[in-house]
């Protein structure tokens, strides 16, 4: 039994599950002393990650990402809109992150989760500032029509590292995105050509001949780490996040450039060496994630 090494206090007669609930910090620290975590992972190792592209058939681009138990579903819908006067040749991306009550026992219907707007804003900032998508690619007719991409990410299971899973699913959804065919209708407005009209009965000339994919450059990948005393734990679960509150999220792109470093307060102050260790862990993780993304894209193309 876990607690039998402690003599003279209540924990010596307790079962593992009870000890885990009542003294969570001590439970985790006992594991950290052996350089391992309760789910038998090494300190710097992330959980198993899987990606499935095209999960939502009715969306223009979608992906389902799972990191351990954390599951995110991202879907993109494209709509034609008039571009603003300041940027007549650029499209627009609207990113929203939702945490429905299914994801966690702490989220109640009617009361939005505290983490949802924060992760949503973080995602928008990261995706737009990383330059992954050139907004000029989303333009249709300069000054008259351009694409608005609505990216919605739904958290289906919140088990820690929400931002990592959300970013991965967003990137995968964009790589799966196929921009639909549009045509000018009689009113002079640009409308989307639906699949049924395609069998040679087109009255209108399509503006773009075939569905095209977006070109993604400098794709961002991220890793969240927890700092606790002098340990660095990569890819925390929800239990670890609730006990040890100091999170650092590092976002790197494929060429190793830093896109974002986010450390929102937290009990443990980070010395430069800790931040550099987090960056090194992230670099390794970027390679793993790139491989997973490429495999998922290949699987999709083979179907």
């Amino acid at each position: 039994m876990m607690g039998s090494a402690n003599s003279g206090d209540l924990s010596s007669e307790m079962e593992v599950d009870a000890f885990r609930r009542l003294f969570p910090l001590r439970f985790h620290e006992r594991h950290l002393l052996e350089s391992i975590r309760p789910d038998a992972r090494m300190l710097g190792k992330a959980r198993d990650t899987t990606l499935a592209l095209g999960a939502v058939a009715s969306a223009d681009g979608s992906a389902l990402a799972k990191i351990g138990c954390t599951t995110m579903l991202a879907a993109i819908k494209m709509e034609v809109m008039t571009p603003t006067a300041e940027s007549p040749d650029m499209g627009c991306i609207a990113i929203d992150f939702h945490m429905p009550p299914i994801c966690s026992p702490t989220v109640r219907p009617g009361r939005p989760a505290e983490a949802a707007p924060v992760v949503s804003k973080q995602l928008s900032d990261t995706i737009l500032s990383s330059g992954m998508i050139n907004l000029k690619d989303l333009s249709l007719v300069r000054g008259k029509a351009s694409w608005m991409a609505y990216l919605d990410i739904y958290c289906l299971d919140a088990d820690g590292a929400l931002f990592d899973a959300a970013l991965l699913s967003a990137v995968a959804a964009f790589s799966n995105l196929q921009i639909p065919i549009v045509a000018l209708n009689d009113d002079g407005r640009v409308v989307v050509v639906s699949e049924e009209n395609e069998g040679g009965k087109l009255k209108k000339e399509p503006v773009n001949k075939e569905k095209r994919k977006l070109k993604l450059s400098s794709i961002p990948f991220s890793l969240t780490c927890i700092l606790h005393k002098n340990y660095i734990l990569a890819d925390p679960t929800a239990e670890e996040e609730s006990i040890m509150e100091t999170l650092v999220t590092v976002v790197l792109n494929l060429s190793g450039q830093l896109v974002s470093l986010y450390k929102p307060g937290g009990q443990f102050l980070a010395y430069t060496s800790a931040i550099q260790d987090c960056m090194a862990l992230t670099r390794q993780r970027v390679k793993e994630l790139k491989k997973i993304l490429d495999e998922a894209i290949c699987d999709m193309e083979m179907d």
Partner: protein, 189 residues
């Protein structure tokens, strides 16, 4: 974190490492238990502290004090950006306060943006620290005796930046906000 000399033209003629004029005043609001206003150049933030009040919020640990932050923008409704600022401030301030001194209480910190001309979050962190000190809330340390600052990255070199937002936002390649404690380590970034 090296700061190198660089040629940046800043609209107000400052050198890369030069900060704008800082001003702080405390005890400006009569009703609040502690209040402070902090301004860096044209950016001005007002912070008020009410607390400790009895009782904690629903899911919070009753053995410790609870910190609640409310961010009020100058104009417009409360949106995602405000929620993010609230979360960042809450996490930073939570770890600066000695939470075990007053268990089962809530301290509310209300931040009101009076004017936003760049470097808003650092200004708010500084204002909140000053208001907490004015209210007499026990603190472990301050965010480096009031200096969080914004750093601007352009062309691979860094410059300390507390400058106006409008004309520079488009030109910058990156913004960093660092908050240091007296142990010379990063509390928030």
């Amino acid at each position: 974190m090296l700061v190198q000399r660089m040629e940046i033209d800043r609209a107000d003629g400052r050198t890369p490492n030069q900060l704008r004029k800082l001003a702080c005043s405390r005890n400006i609001l009569n009703r609040a238990h502690g209040s402070a206003s902090w301004s860096q150049g044209e950016t001005k933030v007002l912070a008020a502290v009410y607390g400790p009040k009895a009782g904690t919020k629903k899911n919070e640990n009753p053995e410790k004090a609870c910190i609640e932050v409310i961010w009020k923008p100058k104009t417009g409704q409360i949106g995602k950006e405000e929620k993010e600022y609230e979360m960042v401030l809450k996490r930073t301030l939570q770890n600066m306060c000695l939470l075990t001194v007053h268990p089962n209480t809530t301290t509310s910190i209300i931040i009101q943006v009076v004017n936003d001309d760049g470097a808003l979050l650092p200004c708010a962190i500084n204002a909140a620290c000053a208001a907490l000190v004015d209210a007499g809330i026990p603190l472990k340390h301050l965010a480096d005796d009031f200096s969080s600052c914004n750093m601007l990255l352009s062309g691979r070199k860094w410059a300390r930046y507390t400058g106006p937002k409008q004309d520079r936002r488009a030109a910058i390649e990156g913004i960093c906000i660092f908050s240091f404690s007296k142990f010379d380590s990063v509390c928030t970034s």
